[in-house]
Amino acid sequence: MSASTHSPVLKHHFDNLEQQHSAERLGMWMFLVTEVLFFGGLFCAYTAYRIWFPHEFEFASSKLILWIAVLNTALLITSSLTMTFAIRAAQLGQKKSLINYLVITFLLGAAFLGFKAFEYYTDYQEKYVPGPIFQKAYADAQHDLTHGHHPEHSPAAELAEHNAGKQPGDAGYLSPQRVQLFLCLYYIMTGIHGIHILVGLGCIAWLVLEAGLNRIPRENYSTVEVVSLYWHLVDMIWLFLMPLLYLTGAGLGKH
């Protein structure tokens, strides 16, 4: 037997630490495959409806709050960088630096969620929520327009103004139902992504605790690496969500 069997972090059913780390990584990757397929289903639904209703999707996307998405993208990519530095610190056995990088990563992720919550709140204030809220805002705006009043400013009112004088089926008419379909995808996809961020924050908080209790010795750096794989995947999914949801309508009216 090799000397590694005496390592306190080596589980008895592994031959050596290299094998143990490989198994941990593989286990996390197997889970990530199910995550990719889970989000893949949502992306597939998005693709089908985007191809069917490109103009409604472009309009609906252009009413989302782009600056928050841009800021959140920067926060998330930076948090992935600090996570890689956390693995490095764990590999080098630098406990203080490991905790610092983990805490920075946590704060960046928490800031992402904070801005996301603010965005949802603003969307709600603007009645940009699928279902009765949007439908009522749209119907009220239509009513105001037919009576010569100026409707209260909201995405639904802008849609009503756009559709004024047009009938369903006319060229340029944008269906409010299809705009709400985009909104359903927007809330479900960003909501599920947000839950993943929340779970990631929980895992990072656990790592901080473990590191603080000296339970992440240098030879057990893979504990940090496994969490980082999950964190990077959630970041990667955002790199696709951001353009598909926010940038689709960013150039609206430019062509």
């Binding site: 893949g40 597939c44 990519i77 990667m236 951001m242 960013a250 150039g251």
Partner: protein
């Protein structure tokens, strides 16, 4: 893997430890691509928007997977596992879209 990665069971080998410079370079490229994506989209790419945005996303994802998620270590089982997700995604997209995108033929 290089030879120095074998035999050392206790501590991570130098091969496993990322160079800070390479981590920062990947970060700058990924965040730069996001900025380019946003800039290009704001200028109005028209019909090119979707392919350009997805191409940028794919390059970013490859960089993150290769460097930050350590697929560059070439652990065959891990690489195959990661690629299997793309394979099954491909099947899901092809089968689903072959239905959704051909429904209008039913009316012909």
């Amino acid at each position: 893997m290089s030879d120095d990665s074998h035999g050392a069971d206790h501590a991570p080998t130098m091969h496993d430890i990322d160079k800070p410079s390479s981590l920062v370079v990947v970060f700058l490229i990924v965040i730069g691509l996001s900025a380019a994506n946003i800039g290009l989209s704001l200028t109005g790419l028209g019909k090119l928007a979707l392919p350009v945005q997805l191409a940028i996303g794919v390059v970013q994802a490859c960089l993150v997977a290769n460097y930050w998620m350590h697929l560059r270590r070439k652990d065959t089982v891990v690489t195959l596992t990661a690629l299997s997700s793309l394979f099954f995604m491909f099947i899901m997209f092809v089968l689903t879209l072959s239905d959704y995108l051909t429904r209008h033929y039913a009316a012909m």
